[in-house]
């Protein structure tokens, strides 16, 4: 029983991380109709950024978040301006944007390998092993902090999208880019900001993940897959949907450890993806576009 | 007598909205049936339901009494019911002839004959023979509408569902396209259901007209009778308009 409770708690905590990974991917796809294949690469890069800031500058990973956000936002905005903007999008775009962003991922991966070698790394802080008692079991403060941030992000995103002019422009562009141009919204700028935001969220997910798990330059494929499962399962732009989807994925993964040999648990995300896509192609919550 | 194509109380819900709600439709053999209605009336959704692109929430589609609904779109085509799209959708990576040949593959399977012959025939019928080797992007909008028609014709359909095949082109082109639709029926014996906004075309081509509004069928009958019905005038022009006219 205590073991089950342990597992349930770790599922909830893990779900926070998965939701954070998914927001950026969903935002970019919802607005630009581009699946950012470099998403996993940026998560990996964010992890290294947090690790370097912590190792070299002694900066606490949670305090480094603003720096990571700024850096990955700039990277994303540049990526859009320099590369993605020049490609056709949506159904007409075909595989071009996929292949291009895949190339960016490879470059990121190689850069990380050159800079930091292929060794596994993790961010270890003085409180990494601290835990607080909860319902008769112990919960890591680190995981609680990650969950806390994961809960703040959707609120912040919601406020941004619904309360600011920029957010309204982003939502409008997601609905109908042509009309936006007609009423004087600078759609290209909106796209740049959106891509930057999506990338920054991936970077954030990277730092958070680095405080919990080991990573190396080859990390990212699993993260991309998990983000994608959450986006597809939860539907676009639905905060509740994303949370529930992340919880489902995390629960299945955590409990799979009980019944599957450890090497197979890595395949759980993939199996979930296929099942979800086949059974509920529209996702559990439909495909609302940032409504 | 069993109609060639019929829908029985066919309905489709999107979220809380009934896009098509309990529509009964009957198309006789060799008939041209016009479907009109204001924007958002559910006309294109109705076509998607008949052609199998969308599954109905309830109700059924019958071809000569046999159930079509539940079949995927490509099987509906093989049964002989083919739709065209309001926003033309040529395959941009294929030539005009290759576009038509894709349809002809299934036409040949259904009705016999070679793919090449079917393709040539459909191209000639649509007046595109001299554009065969070109990519669809070189065609005008009217040309692409002809291509859409030719591709559908090549599948050897018994029923064609034409979604605004005339709207959006110059008056001269519209007349030519309307003549093509009539020839589909007169020369090829194909029964036609057409959604159309261009009223003169609907009035002259259709044997019968069905009017949809908010997913419901609100009127049905001869083209001239239907447009006099107060409910139809109201649907198009708003409440009060019907009284003003009478």
């Amino acid at each position: 029983m205590a073991r089950l409770l342990d597992l349930a708690i770790s599922a909830v905590l893990l779900a926070g991380l998965y939701a954070t990974m998914a927001y950026g991917l969903g935002l970019v796809y919802g607005v630009l109709r581009v699946v950012n294949l470099a998403h996993g690469g940026v998560i990996m890069a964010g992890a290294y950024l947090g690790w370097v800031l912590h190792g070299r500058l002694r900066l606490d990973p949670y305090l480094s978040i603003p720096l990571v956000l700024v850096a990955t936002y700039a990277f994303g905005a540049l990526l859009y301006r320099g590369l993605v903007r020049h490609l056709p999008r949506g159904a007409a775009g075909g595989p071009a944007s996929l292949l291009l962003l895949f190339g960016v991922w490879l470059v990121l991966r190689n850069a990380a390998y050159l800079l930091f070698t292929g060794d596994d790394q993790a961010i270890r802080t003085s409180y990494s092993t601290h835990a607080v008692p909860f319902l008769g079991t112990w919960v890591s403060v680190n995981r609680l902090a990650v969950l806390g941030i994961a809960l703040v992000i959707p609120v912040a995103l919601h406020l941004l999208l619904h309360r600011t002019y920029l957010g309204k422009a982003i939502r409008a562009a997601a609905q109908n880019a042509e009309s936006c141009t007609l009423v004087g919204v600078d759609v290209e700028r909106v796209y740049t900001v959106t891509f930057g935001l999506g990338t920054a969220l991936a970077g954030l997910a990277g730092v958070l993940s680095a405080t919990l798990f080991a990573f190396n330059p080859a990390s990212g494929a699993g993260e991309l897959l998990k983000s994608f499962v959450v986006v597809v399962l939860g539907g676009l732009g639905s905060v509740v949907g994303t949370a529930v989807a992340a919880l489902i994925l995390a629960t299945v993964e955590v409990f799979a450890i009980l019944v599957l040999p450890s090497y197979l648990t890595a395949a759980v995300g993939f199996v979930m993806l296929v099942i979800v896509l086949v059974v509920r192609p529209g996702g559990l919550f439909g495909q609302r576009v940032l409504g | 007598m069993t109609p060639l194509l019929a829908t029985r109380a066919i309905s489709r819900r999107f979220g809380g909205l009934w896009a098509v709600d309990g529509v009964d439709l009957a198309l006789g053999d060799g008939e041209i049936l016009g479907v009109i209605g204001p924007n958002g009336a559910g006309k294109t959704t109705l076509f998607a339901l008949i052609s199998g692109s969308l599954a109905p929430t309830s109700g059924e589609v019958l071809l000569e009494g046999r159930r079509l609904s539940g079949l995927p779109a490509h099987r509906v085509v093989r049964a002989g019911v083919v739709r065209t799209h309001q926003l033309v959708r040529p395959f941009p990576n294929l030539t005009v002839a290759e576009n038509v040949a894709v349809g002809a593959i299934h036409g040949a399977r259904r009705a016999g004959g070679g793919v090449a012959e079917r393709t040539a025939d459909a191209l000639a019928f649509a007046g595109l023979a001299d554009r065969a080797g070109q990519p669809p992007a070189t065609l005008t909008l009217a040309g692409r509408k002809r291509l859409e028609l030719a591709r559908a014709l090549a599948t050897a359909p018994r029923v064609l569902l034409l979604d605004e095949v005339i709207a959006g082109v110059s008056p001269a082109e519209a007349q030519a396209l309307a003549a093509l639709v009539r020839r589909l029926r007169d020369e090829r014996g194909i029964s036609v259901v057409m959604i159309e906004h261009v009223m003169p075309a609907v009035m002259t081509l259709s044997d019968r007209v069905v009017v949809l509004d908010h997913g419901h069928k609100i009127a049905e009958g001869g083209p001239l009778d239907v447009v006099r019905e107060p409910r139809v005038i109201e649907a198009y022009l708003g409440k009060g308009a019907a009284e003003a006219r009478t």
Binding site: G94, L98, L100, L106, Y263, F270 | G103, A120
Partner: protein, 345 residues
């Protein structure tokens, strides 16, 4: 009409003669090449077959797979196990490996209901899942220590001939598919799944067929590759890099063209040999950079460049059909349709 008739009819001599001449000339190569060069050409031929097979899926049907290493590995290890355990002649073992890979591809049927990015990401998962399972399945693959294979009868020359036969068959098959009704329907699916279904094309059936075919040929290539190196390990055959290599060969040469993957595979093998020797830590990034540059500046790769040159020389004929990107495609507003747009019905 003449165009359609030509593309649906038999093989014109204009294409068959150079093809026969090239295969004939290549068949004589072992007489003049030193062993090192012959090895390299053998490898290139195996990769040509693999790249062409990937292209049926990625180029013709428009389904970009990042997971073809799964079929390559299954073909390789099934063939290796057969060669180790039975007296089966090598070519039959390779065929059996191909068959196993083809069946595996058919088993991936659920992913084929997906289109575009959905499919691509699912294949990343497919490839990674296969890599993990087979790396840990030590009794079958030997795990991280790999498997050693018996020498193929006839040695390197025999291997070369088989590789040439496989590559030639793959070229002929590509050419045939591109001009067949099957190929026409694949191209229609690639352009617009829904419009294709609306004229009778079953996307699921065609994609199942082409994925199985593609997987089987990649599997056979995996078997030949296993015999060629006579030592294989799951991390090489099933690796993510392996999947990327198929994508890259086609992108370099020209996705969706018939001869592009051939050129791409040759360039890739040479490049790989040079890079691995001189810059082993840089090759992944250079591949990435190459991918970015090609997609940005010449989406049809070498084939696109060749067409440009030909047109500049004034003998270009009609403009090439846009196979990778299509600016002329059905312009869908970014907001329309929702995610369901990417899914086959």
């Amino acid at each position: 009409m003449s165009r359609a008739r030509r593309s649906l009819a038999g093989i014109p001599l204009r294409a068959a003669l150079p093809f026969a001449a090239a295969v004939g000339a290549l068949a004589l190569l072992p007489l003049v090449l030193d062993p090192y060069a012959l090895n390299l050409v053998t490898l290139a031929l195996v990769m040509i077959a693999g790249a062409l097979a990937w292209n049926w899926m990625g180029g013709f049907a428009g389904q970009v797979s990042f997971g073809h290493a799964a079929m390559f590995g299954i073909g390789g290890f099934v063939a290796a196990r057969l060669l180790l355990a039975t007296p089966l002649p090598a070519p039959l073992a390779w065929l059996a490996g191909g068959l196993a890979a083809g069946i595996f591809a058919l088993g991936a049927h659920p992913t084929l209901r997906l289109r575009g990015p959905y499919f691509s990401i699912a294949t990343i998962g497919l490839g990674e899942a296969a890599r993990l399972v087979f790396t840990y399945w030590e009794r079958f693959t030997g795990g991280a220590s790999g498997l050693s294979l018996p020498i193929v009868a006839g040695g390197k020359e025999a291997l070369y001939s088989w590789a040439l036969a496989l590559a030639a068959a793959a070229v002929a098959a590509s050419w045939g598919i591109r001009r067949s009704r099957f190929g026409l329907q694949l191209l229609a699916i690639k352009a617009d799944v829904e419009a294709a279904a609306d004229v009778g094309v079953s996307a699921t059936l065609h994609q199942d067929l082409v994925f199985a075919l593609s997987g089987a040929v990649v599997g056979i290539a995996g078997g030949l590759y296993a015999s060629y190196f006579s030592f294989i390990e799951p991390n090489d055959l099933f690796g993510f890099d392996r999947s990327i290599s198929f994508v890259l060969m086609c992108v370099i040469g020209g996705v969706g063209t018939v001869l592009g993957p051939v050129l791409g595979a040759i360039v890739f093998v040479i490049l790989h040999q040079l890079l691995l020797a001189s810059y082993p830590q840089l090759y992944l990034g250079l591949y990435g950079l190459l991918l970015v540059l090609i997609i940005l500046f010449e989406p049809l790769g070498i084939s696109g460049l060749a067409l440009r040159v030909a047109r500049r020389l004034g003998r270009g004929g009609p403009p090439p059909a846009p196979l990778v990107t299509s600016a002329a495609g059905p312009a869908s507003p970014p907001g329309a349709g929702g995610g369901g747009r990417g899914l086959a019905p």
